[in-house]
């Protein structure tokens, strides 16, 4: 449905997007992940024909964004980072305007607007001025605007930013309910969002593609190592934290021991294993043999957050020698 090849976007002095290629199939939800300033918004703006690429091509439903922008625009619904709303308009008036702007036949507009308002739960504020709406409602009106003309492709730039937790869950459910009929690309720097909604993840950092895979694969690939949380009873100041740490570090297969907390007579450690090692049994044995009281021992597993940090940090390490070379 979406095909991007060798896409580069250069501004006057900076390269915002550097030679990115990816494909998205029909009906997929793809998460576009990266720290702020990674080039997510720029890539989305190229896909929506807002910005032309410096080099490379991007096609949506077989239409090139440079050669056939009208056809691309008809098939895309776009929610920018700040929803494009006119504060002086009423919600219903605004949606009718957008409907006509997107080329819906005049007689179909009211019905379509009604439908979308119900779906996005903005029905109860239909006659209110947009300028007087809360952030959550504005975001949903923005989303309503994007799905109004029933586009094949939905491009959502940080759809849950600035919402409260309840609204985030509602928006997420709404997005999930849109999957199937629509191909969705959503960008975010919040990883849990990707874990919840997306089938595939595209990670970019500093304008470069770092990884592109399914969420499950990505987690598996990087979960060769195990993380374990360990809690000891340390009432009365014994055992000594440094002693515990040292002894835990000697356990076979342990790569790192971090002390997390030592409050209320408890010691909490987080321990990471080397690739492919099972360490829980050995840890338990060490603790018991040392005569300490074991409160809890559980596997925490690396979250997508850790994976993301690993990936982007690894990418930075790769580039570091280069910059040093330049300085020398």
């Amino acid at each position: 449905m979406i095909k991007v090849e060798g896409l580069t976007k250069r501004y006057a002095r900076t390269v915002a997007v550097d030679n990115i290629s990816f494909e998205v199939e029909k009906g997929q939800i793809v998460g576009f992940l990266g720290p702020n300033g990674a080039g997510k918004t720029t890539t989305m703006r190229v896909l929506t024909c807002f910005l032309p690429p410096t080099s490379g091509t991007a096609t949506v439903a077989g239409f090139d964004v440079l050669e056939n922008p009208m056809e691309v625009k008809k098939r895309i619904g776009y929610l920018p980072e700040t929803p494009p709303l006119y504060p002086e308009m009423e919600v219903i008036e605004y949606l009718k305007f957008v409907g006509k702007l997107k080329g819906i036949a005049s007689r179909d507009v009211p019905g379509r607007v009604d439908e979308v308002m119900k779906r996005c739960a903005v029905d109860d504020v239909r006659d209110k001025l947009i300028g007087k709406l809360s952030k959550g409602y504005r975001q949903r009106v923005g989303l309503a605007q994007a799905i109004l003309h029933n586009p094949d492709v939905l491009i959502l730039d940080e759809p849950t930013s600035g919402l409260d937790p309840k609204q985030i869950i509602e928006t997420r459910e709404l997005i999930n309910s849109l999957a199937g009929d629509h191909t969705i690309i959503l960008s975010t720097h919040i990883l849990s969002e990707v874990e919840h909604s997306c089938e595939r993840v595209i990670i970019i950092s500093h304008g470069k593609l770092v990884a592109i895979d399914s969420v499950a694969n990505l987690t598996n690939r990087l979960r060769g190592s195990e993380a374990v949380a360990l809690e000891l009873d340390a009432a009365g100041g014994r055992p000594n934290p440094t002693e515990v740490q040292q002894r835990l570090e000697t356990v076979a297969g342990v790569s790192r021991v971090m002390m997390k907390d030592s409050k209320n007579g408890k010691l909490i450690f987080e321990i990471e294993s080397l690739q492919g090692k099972q360490i829980r049994a050995d840890l338990a044995r060490t603790v018991v043999n040392s005569g300490w009281n074991l409160n809890e021992l559980r596997s925490v597993g690396l979250s997508l957050e850790d994976i993301f940090l690993q990936l982007t940090a690894a990418e930075q390490k790769d580039t570091e020698p280069e910059t040093q070379g330049v300085q020398a």
């Binding site: 807002f50 032309p52 625009k73 920018p80 494009p84 702007l101 080329g103």
Partner: protein, 255 residues
């Protein structure tokens, strides 16, 4: 065409749901009414004097009231235009709604024409305020209708021209104050250039004088439609709107 009308209606709505349209109409009506009152009072006083003394040149409402009045209206236009056009694109750029317009299946040209037409219609509403006063003159006097219509045609053409220039300036910035300020400065310069160059005959002065938009109104205010003035205004409108579309294009490539 559907999109042009759609965007034009949206612009008009924005003007009339905010105080700006009413403010400009009231502002114009007040000043125009005041000037008309003065002109009429002088006219009446003068005609009484003539009656008392007997004789003198025949008097005409057209030449002594309407012509100077509409000439004055053309000057006020210079002050109104920046307030109409400053928001056209600058506001959309600031609030991000430009992204909605540029990612919708409408062409740049349709957006520009829609916005310019919206500004034009508001300008016509403002001009219409002066018709109340002119209608009073027709009710109690017998002025000639044709020169009045010609002068209004001139006002509309000049207004369209300045609005197109204002629209262009509004595309170049996110800041409404800057858009308004620069447009105001340009309008003011056009007016001043006309003053500076009016009595000079050198080639450079003549060119500047020709380009100064205000000079082309003179013939209209005398009730004369010259094709070169009409062509000048139409080509200026075309040129300014063309520049606007170029500016929008460059917006995509640069930002």
């Amino acid at each position: 065409m559907r999109s042009v009308i759609l965007i034009c209606r949206k612009e008009l709505n924005a003007y009339f749901t905010s105080p700006i349209a009413y403010m400009l109409m009231a502002f114009f009506a007040l000043i125009f009414g005041f000037v008309l009152f003065n002109a009429t009072r002088d006219f009446i006083r003068f005609s009484f004097q003539m009656q008392a003394q007997g004789g003198g040149a025949p008097m005409s409402i057209n030449d002594q009231i309407i012509t100077p009045l509409l000439g004055f209206a053309s000057t006020i236009t210079l002050f109104l235009v920046p307030m109409i056009t400053m928001r056209l694109f600058a506001e959309e750029k600031r609030s991000g709604t430009i992204e909605l317009l540029l990612t919708s299946p409408v062409t740049d040209l349709e957006i520009i024409l829609g916005k310019w037409l919206g500004a034009m219609l508001l300008f016509l509403c403002i001009l219409a305020m002066s018709m109340i006063n002119v209608a009073l003159l027709f009710a109690w006097g017998k002025p000639d209708l044709k020169p009045v219509l010609v002068a209004y045609l001139g006002l509309i053409l000049q207004g369209g021209c300045l609005l197109a220039i204002g629209a262009f300036i509004s595309t170049t910035t996110k800041n409404q104050i800057i858009a308004g300020g620069v447009t105001f400065f340009v309008c003011l310069m056009l007016w001043l250039l006309n003053w500076f160059t009016a009595n000079d005959t050198g080639a450079v002065y003549q060119v500047i004088n020709y380009l100064s938009i205000v000079t082309h109104f003179d013939n209209f205010s005398k009730g004369v439609v010259e094709s070169k003035d009409v062509i000048f205004y139409l080509s200026m409108i075309f040129f300014a709107l063309f520049s606007t579309s170029r500016a929008m294009e460059s917006l995509r490539w640069r930002s």
